[in-house]
C-alpha cells in the first residue's frame, strides 16, 4: 500500500489548529495514521502555537517613557515634573544639536547626490559657519549635561559614572582628531563627515546619560539603563 501524498502546508496548519471541516479532517487523520513525518509536523505546530499563546509580555525599556514624555512636550503638553524640568532642558539642547547636525547632513547628502545650481552650492565659508553653529549647539548640550552631572553626582553609580567619563574622553579625543584633520584640510569631506560622526556619538552619549540619570533617580540600582549604554557599544 502506498502512502497518499502529503497534505499541503495550509491544510496541516489548519489541522493542527483544529480548524478543518469534518471530511477534510478525516482525510488528514487517515494520512497521519501512516505518515510519521506529517504527524511530527502537526505535533510541533501544536507545541509552537501553545508556546506562542503563552508568551509573556515584553517589558518596555526603562528609558522608553523618557522618549515618550519628551515627544509629548514637543507636542505642547505641560511639563509635569518640576524637578525634572532641567533634565528636559538638557534633552532639548541635545535635540537642538542633533537637529542642527541633521541639517548639515542633509545638505551634505544633497551635494553628493546630484549637481545643483551654482547659487545652491555651499561655499567653504557657509559650511564652516554651519559647523560653527552645530558646535555651538553641541556646547550648549554639554553645558546642560554638566549642570546635571554637577548636581546629580550622587545619583550615578560610581562604576557607571567612571564608564561614562571614559566614554566621554574617547569621544572627545575623536572630536579633537577630526577637528585637527579639518583644520589641515578645511574642504575635506571625509574630515567633515568624521567630525559630524564624532558629534553624533557625543550626542548619543549625552542622550543616554540624561536617560540614565533619570533612570537612576527613579531606580537607583537600575541595570536597564546602563545596559543600554553597553548596547550602544560605547
Amino acid at each position: 500500500m502506498t502512502t497518499p501524498p502529503h497534505p499541503d502546508g495550509a491544510t496541516l496548519t489548519e489541522y493542527a489548529d483544529g480548524a478543518l471541516r469534518h471530511e477534510e479532517r478525516a482525510r488528514v487523520d487517515a494520512h497521519l495514521a501512516s505518515c510519521r513525518e506529517c504527524q511530527d509536523v502537526v505535533d510541533d505546530f501544536r507545541r509552537i502555537r501553545l508556546a506562542a499563546r503563552q508568551l509573556p509580555p515584553l517589558a518596555a525599556p526603562g528609558h522608553a517613557w523618557t522618549r515618550v514624555e519628551r515627544a509629548l512636550q514637543t507636542e505642547g503638553a505641560p511639563r509635569t515634573f518640576r524637578r525634572w524640568t532641567w533634565f528636559a532642558i538638557a534633552a532639548v539642547s541635545v535635540i537642538a544639536a542633533a537637529g542642527s547636525l541633521k541639517l548639515l547632513d542633509a545638505r551634505r547628502q544633497r551635494t553628493q547626490a546630484a549637481p545643483v545650481a551654482a547659487a545652491e552650492v555651499p561655499t567653504a565659508q557657509s559650511i564652516e559657519e554651519e559647523l560653527r553653529q552645530a558646535e555651538q549647539h553641541y556646547q550648549n548640550a554639554i553645558s546642560g549635561l554638566e549642570q546635571i552631572a554637577d548636581a546629580e553626582k550622587g545619583s550615578l553609580d560610581p562604576q557607571v559614572a567612571s564608564t561614562l567619563e571614559k566614554n566621554l574622553v574617547v569621544v572627545d579625543q575623536a572630536i579633537s582628531e577630526s577637528r585637527a584633520a579639518l583644520k589641515a584640510q578645511p574642504s575635506s569631506e571625509p574630515a567633515q563627515a568624521s567630525l559630524l560622526e564624532s558629534f553624533k556619538s557625543k550626542i548619543a552619549l549625552l542622550e543616554d546619560t540624561v536617560a540614565l540619570i533619570n533612570e537612576m533617580r527613579r531606580r537607583p540600582a537600575s541595570s536597564d539603563a546602563s545596559a543600554g549604554l553597553k548596547r550602544k557599544g560605547i
Binding site: 502546508g9 495550509a10 496541516l12 496548519t13 489548519e14 513525518e37 506529517c38 511530527d40 509536523v41 505535533d43 510541533d44 505546530f45 507545541r47 509552537i48 502555537r49 501553545l50 508556546a51 506562542a52 499563546r53 503563552q54 508568551l55 509573556p56 509580555p57 515584553l58 517589558a59 518596555a60 525599556p61 526603562g62 522608553a64 517613557w65 522618549r67 515618550v68 514624555e69 515627544a71 509629548l72 507636542e75 503638553a77 505641560p78 511639563r79 509635569t80 515634573f81 527613579r218 531606580r219
Partner: protein, 184 residues
C-alpha cells in the same frame, strides 16, 4: 515620577480617561504604565526588532495623546489603545511590505523540510521562541504574530493586511516550519 512598565489587567478608571483627555501628562504617564508592556510586545514582535518596537511604542503613545480627546468610551480604554497600536503596527508592516513585497512569497519545497524537532516531549521554551520569532522573515513573522501570538483568525488577518486568506494560512505554515527548524 516612577513609570513602571507593568500592565494592569484592570480597565482604566473613568477619571483617568478624563484626566488624559484634559491633557494631564501625569495621567498619561499612568496610562503608559498600564499598557506600555502590552503595546511594546506587539510592536517588537510585529517589527522583529526591539529598537523598532521602541520607536513604534513612542509613536503610538504620541498618537494616543493626539487622539484621546476623540475617545468616546464605547470600548474599554485599553481596547481602544490596543486597536490604535495594532493599526499603527499594521501601517508600519504595510509600508514595509509595499517596499519589499514579501507577504505574497510562495512556499518552496525547501521550506517544507520534514526534519522533526528533536525533543518532542519537551515544551518549547518561551525565551527560545521569542528569539526565534525575531529571526522569522518579514511577511510570515507578522502573520504568525497576529495568528499564533495575538489570536486573530486568518480571515481577520487577511482583511488587516490586504492579503488572501490562503496566503495568511501559508504564511503561518511557513513561519511554523521556520520556527521548527530554529528550535531544533
Amino acid at each position: 515620577m516612577t513609570v513602571s512598565t507593568t500592565d494592569s489587567a484592570e480597565s482604566a478608571p473613568p477619571e483617568l480617561v478624563a484626566r488624559c483627555q484634559a491633557g494631564d501628562v501625569d495621567a498619561f504617564a499612568e496610562l503608559y504604565s498600564r499598557y506600555a508592556s502590552r503595546i511594546f510586545s506587539l510592536a517588537t514582535r510585529m517589527s522583529g526588532s526591539s529598537q523598532t518596537g521602541e520607536d513604534l511604542l513612542q509613536e503610538i503613545f504620541l498618537q494616543a495623546y493626539r487622539k484621546i480627546a476623540s475617545f468616546k468610551g464605547d470600548a474599554a480604554l485599553g481596547t481602544w489603545l490596543y486597536r490604535l497600536a495594532l493599526n499603527h503596527c499594521l501601517d508600519f508592516v504595510r509600508s514595509r511590505h509595499a517596499r519589499m513585497d514579501k507577504v505574497t512569497d510562495t512556499i518552496g519545497d525547501a521550506d517544507f523540510s520534514r526534519v522533526p524537532v528533536a525533543r518532542r516531549d519537551t515544551p518549547v521554551e518561551r525565551i527560545d521562541l521569542e528569539r526565534a520569532v525575531q529571526q522569522l522573515p518579514e511577511g510570515c513573522r507578522e502573520v504568525f504574530v497576529l495568528h499564533d501570538v495575538e489570536g486573530y483568525e486568518h480571515k481577520e488577518i487577511a482583511a488587516m493586511l490586504g492579503i488572501a486568506e490562503g496566503t495568511s494560512k501559508s504564511q503561518v505554515f511557513k513561519a511554523r516550519m521556520k520556527l521548527r527548524a530554529l528550535l531544533t
